[in-house]
Structures are given as C-alpha cells and as structure tokens.
C-alpha cells in the first residue's frame, strides 16, 4: 500500500502530457450511447415500436420468438438479447474498454487509478468473465440465424425475389456480426491456439491453417467489434424507421 501513495506523493497522478483521456472518453461514450439506444429501442419500446417491415426484421429480434403467454408489454427482444449482451460483456476487447472507461482501472496507462484495492478478475463478479467461451458457443449458433434473416430480406411474400436498401443493410450487418464472432480470442484458442504441436498430424496441421486465418481476423477484433456494434444499431434503426413509416425503403418490389 505504502508505495502506491508514494508514487502519487512523489510524482502526482500522472506526468503524461498527451491527451490520454480522449481515448477512454470517446470509446466509453460510444458504448454508453449504444447501451442507451438498444435498451430504449429493443426493451423499453419493444412491441409498441414496430420492428418488422415487409421482409425485414430488426436484428435485435432475430429470430422472432413470440409465444402467446407472454404479455404484450414484454419485448420479444428479451429472448434474444441476453446472448449478444453476455457475449459482448465478457469479450476481451470490450472488457479492456469498459475497465478503462467506466471502472478507471486504469483510466490510462501510467495514470494512477482511483481504487484503493484491486483483485482484477480473480474474484466475484469479474471471475465470471471466464464464461466468455460459453457465450461464444451461443454466438456461433446466431451466425446462421442472422444470415437466414439477411437472406429472408430478399424475399417478399406474394412477390418473390427482390432487393431493397434494407436487404443490403441486413446482409452487411450479418457479415460484420459474423466477422466479430470469428475474430474472437476464445475461438482462436479453440480452433488451434490451445495446441502445442501443430505438426503432429494432418488434423493438427489443418487446425494450424485455421488458426492462421482466424489470427488475421483476430488482429482486428477491435475494428470488427465497433463495426458490428454500429451496424447492428443502424440496421435496427433503419428497420424501425421503415416499419413506422418515417422512411420509405428503396426496392425492386411493387407493393412494399
């Protein structure tokens, strides 16, 4: 304990002269904005703000689960959102970001953190971060589901095949969400990182190749994380705006 206060006594909170606080402020602000938007759009407004327009369904509701016994005020998104919420909260990249921005642990590198004691991820609740792998399994199931939603967006009942701005948005969104999942650190470990010998058999050689490819994606995990977060928010907003008559979707169909 003595030494931490020593550092501050001797040198103050930090001697960095660059604007180290911009990064945590920006990324923390971005995360907060998304959390607020998605809570309002998917959970609070829920059924009272239409989320389906023609062949489009907001990705927050994909796949649509709406059993009869569920009261109208409960949003069908509750059956879906726990999965991406758990996946992203325990994601190594998002952990880094919110530990820095929200917990100030640390606020910046070589900037003294405010907390008096620290046990990192060794105790409850943060030890639960180890469940990331379980959420990954669920996220992998969501990849085909989101692609199904994207493909469905090219088919209007009664008219058949066509394409609209919404179909393109939902396809881009499915791609970005897939890339976010494929660049996951846990997946990189499971696919090959956990091996110590790659040359031992054809099977392990193949896993090494897969590991090489996933490692390329993994280097940009942060990029995929933000790109997919922004795209899923925008896709949700777009479908809502079309469904509620604020925007008209440009498309090849005649009656939508």
């Amino acid at each position: 304990m003595a030494q931490a206060t020593d550092i501050q006594r001797r040198y103050g909170k930090t001697q960095r002269v660059d604007r180290w606080w911009i990064e945590p402020a920006l990324f923390g602000g971005g995360l907060l904005a998304f959390v607020i938007y998605s809570t309002v759009s998917a959970l609070i407004l829920g059924n009272s703000w239409h989320f389906e327009a023609g062949p489009y369904l907001s990705p927050f509701f994909e796949p649509l689960i709406k059993p009869g016994w569920v009261p109208e005020w409960i949003s069908p998104a509750v059956f879906i959102l726990w999965a991406p919420l758990g996946f992203r909260t325990t994601c190594y990249y998002y952990r880094r970001t919110y530990y820095r921005s929200f917990f100030m642990s640390p606020p910046g590198c070589a900037v003294t953190e405010p907390a008096k004691s620290y046990s990192g991820e060794s105790k409850f609740p943060f030890i639960l971060q180890n469940a990331h792998r379980l959420f990954l399994y669920v996220a992998l199931v969501f990849i085909p589901i989101l692609w199904y939603g994207a493909l469905k967006a090219f088919w209007l009942d009664g008219e058949g095949l066509g394409v609209g701005v919404g179909s393109l948005i939902l396809t881009a969104n499915a791609f970005l969400l897939m890339m976010y999942t494929l660049s996951c650190h846990s997946l990189r470990h499971l696919i090959g990182g956990g091996l110590d010998c790659f040359s031992c058999s054809n099977y392990t050689r193949t896993r090494r190749k897969a590991w090489d490819i996933l490692s390329l994606a993994n280097e940009h995990h942060k990029g995929w994380a933000w790109a997919s977060l922004i795209s899923v928010g925008l896709a949700d907003l777009y479908v809502h705006l079309v469904a509620n008559g604020v925007l008209t979707d440009l498309n090849t169909w005649s009656n939508f």
Partner: protein, 247 residues
C-alpha cells in the same frame, strides 16, 4: 544548436526534480542528452545503460510520464524548448536518480517453471518443426527492460499484489513454456493460480509500451487465460474429463 529543457529526478525516495538546459544535436536520443548532462553539468548523475541500441533493456525510464527506453526515444519527437521530464521507473524502489532496484523481477523469475524437454529421438537429436515454434519466436524477443512490469497497474497502483502476480514480462515467459512443442510440464504448471493471471484485466498497457513490439496481451496473456479456462472454468470440458478420463 537546439536546447532541451530537462526535468530530471535527483536523489532517492525523498529526492526532487532538478531542471537543466542541455544543448543537443539533430539525430540524438534522450540517452545522449542525459549523457551530455552528466558530462557537463551533473557529474554525479546515476543512470543505467549499456548498449544504446534498444537491446540490453537497461535504460528504461519514464519520459514525460510514459515508460520508455531512453536510447530509443528520439529528440526529434519533442518540440524545441519543450520541457522533458525524466523519472526513474516509478513502480520500483529508487536507488538513486534514474536507477531503480528491479530485483523483485529476479525473485519472480525464480518461481517460473523450467522447460522439461522430452528426450532426444533415435538419432540423438531433439527436433522441432518451424510451424511449432514460430509462434514462440515473438516471445524470445523480450529484452527484460521491465517497462511492461512498470506500467502494469496491478502492481504499479497496488504494490500489495506483488506477492500474487508475476506480471506481463513473466506471462510472456510462461506462454513460451506453455506452447513449447517438446515441453513435458503438465498443462497446469503454466497457468497455476499463483502467477496471478486472473489479476490481469487485459487493459493492454504492457502491449502499448513494449519496445520490442511483443503482443503481450493478445499472444501471451489471453492464450494463457484461455488455457486457464480449459483447466479450471469450462464446465463442458470438466464433464468430458469425467466421462472420458483426463485429456
């Protein structure tokens, strides 16, 4: 000749900053300027250095608050006349001026598991294939400058954790053992609780400052954390081990 305005920590724990103006030439690094300061104005300034080539890991210091090698920090990165603050590594006890006592790291090094290589093959050699060791070559670049240990908030802000936490430099070393194709240590040897991998919250400051550009967090710490999950926290694997015996 441009002039640098230096603010250098002088003395021990109860020392203070002393300001100096030192002339320098284009192309110099901070270490050159500190040497000139030593030669012209502060003959008793204590500083540790060796190679002036970013390879010995001795000249670590905190320059304008950022842990760096003095010999790899170019004067050209500062504006003319800017005050340059040079402090010793703040996480470790000061011996004098810019020299700190980093022996805690040596004590941690003694607790590291050693490689236990499997025996030589029939021809008397231990053979490894490139694809099995290329991942580890990154870890062998470490020059033990301890800049990552210095910046890590787990011990920098909470020195009481020094007994439970090996630190990023040693996570690199553990990863090197863990992934070695010929190593015979049990899996648990490199991810044991005592090394404090769980204390790391992957905020990546060690990676940001490593002068060798080792991806400490992505390539050493996170893979080790995943191996810890294999070992202790994956219920599906635990059931598998129960049903099919230990893998």
């Amino acid at each position: 000749m441009p002039k640098a305005h230096l603010k250098v920590w002088r003395g021990d724990d109860s020392g203070q900053y002393v300001e100096y103006d030192v002339e320098y030439e284009e192309g110099m690094v901070v270490l050159d300027v500190v040497h000139r300061l030593q030669a012209t104005q502060a003959g008793d300034l204590a500083i540790r250095w060796n190679c002036k080539a970013g390879k010995c890991g001795s000249c670590s210091a905190e320059i304008n608050g950022k842990p760096k090698l003095q010999c790899m920090t170019r004067m050209g990165t500062f504006i003319d006349g800017e005050t340059i603050t040079i402090a010793p590594l703040k996480t470790f006890p000061i011996i004098r001026d810019l020299v700190t006592d980093v022996s805690w790291n040596y004590r941690v090094a003694e607790t590291m598991p050693e490689l236990k290589l499997s025996g030589p093959d029939a021809s008397g050699h231990r053979r490894m294939q490139q694809i099995d060791i290329d991942r580890e070559q990154e870890f062998r670049k470490c020059i033990e400058c301890y800049i990552c240990q210095d910046v890590c908030h787990v011990i920098r802000d909470h020195p009481e954790n020094q007994g439970n936490f090996a630190g990023p430099r040693f996570f690199v070393q553990l990863a090197n053992v863990a992934m070695h194709p010929l190593d015979q240590n049990p899996k648990s040897a490199t991810v044991a609780h005592g090394f404090g991998l769980d204390y790391c919250n992957i905020t990546k400051c060690c990676t940001d400052v490593c002068p060798e550009g080792i991806h400490i967090t992505d390539n050493a710490i996170i893979p080790l954390k995943e191996r810890r999950v294999d070992e202790y926290y994956d219920p599906i694997r635990a059931i598998g081990r129960k049903l099919f015996g230990k893998k």
